[in-house]
Symmetry: C2
Subunit: 166 residues, 2 copies
């Protein structure tokens, strides 16, 4: 299932659904050049095999009152596996933390956070993140503005690589 090889039509389906996840199946079929039933079967297969992990509406955070976006660089005192996973579990429980990535290099984790306002974030920072056991250092950077926020992967790069490889 994981190693299922994708043909060009499958990749086109993924690219189209990444760009517009609510496209109807007939429109999708038209765009990838096959009829609707096999197109739907391919979509189901891609979902079941894990290539498609879900569908999400992209909502406007600012319009909804989440004015503040912050990146937090976190260093831990102990990098033992148990301590790393303990911190990850904390992050999963914090709704303000939208993303949590473990990094190499000097900083252990980077968190992408969304908060209604600065005081809301400060409250989380001082009341939650900084009081968490094993958290040694936190450096935060406010997002001034977002120039690009594309979802997923660049399919044109993928196609270029595949055609180069043959």
């Amino acid at each position: 299932m994981a190693g299922t090889r994708l043909d060009p039509i499958d990749r086109k389906i993924l690219a189209e659904l990444q760009a517009d996840g609510r496209m109807t199946n007939v429109e999708l079929a038209r765009r990838v050049g096959i009829s609707a039933p096999p197109c739907l079967r391919r979509v189901r297969t891609l979902e079941e095999s894990g290539y498609i992990k879900g569908y999400h509406a992209e909502v406007d955070a600012r319009e909804l009152g989440f004015e503040v976006q912050v990146f937090a660089m976190v260093g831990l005192a102990s990098q033992a596996e148990a301590d790393l996973t303990a911190f990850e579990n904390r992050c999963r429980a914090w709704p303000l933390v939208r993303e949590c990535h473990m990094l190499n290099g000097e900083v252990d984790f980077i968190l992408k956070c969304a908060a209604p306002d600065l005081s809301g974030f400060q409250k989380f920072l001082t009341g939650e993140l900084l009081t968490t056991p094993n958290v040694a250092s936190v450096k935060t950077s406010l997002v001034i503005r977002c120039a690009k926020d594309d979802p997923g992967v660049p399919f044109d790069v993928l196609e270029a690589r595949l055609s180069a490889a043959g």
Copy 2:
């Protein structure tokens, strides 16, 4: 249109569609507790007023051969507005750069990049990013693993704030 106030049903619709963007309208209506036709009208209104900016399939980058995810912290020599926007436009043209956020503090931009492998990223780093005019410093951190990657905003936080405010 931008300042349109949302009622609890609208917010529930947004929360449901953020969690599952391909849900049918009848299922969505059932979950938010209204009948299908007004539910569809609300969705259309939310789309047109910009609360919903789009729908996207969440694809598995690793399965597709994008093994490497990197955060790049970029410092510019000049932070004049024209130079900032020039760099942002560069980022928009680079497919490997998926996100580009301008930050406050010591670093000017943070980029989230996706690449097929390390050499592919290195090629981009040395051949593109580091040779860009005005780029003074770049620090990169490889993502070891991703503990959390939730889309959008935490609607439970929003509801808590609204009920607290009255």
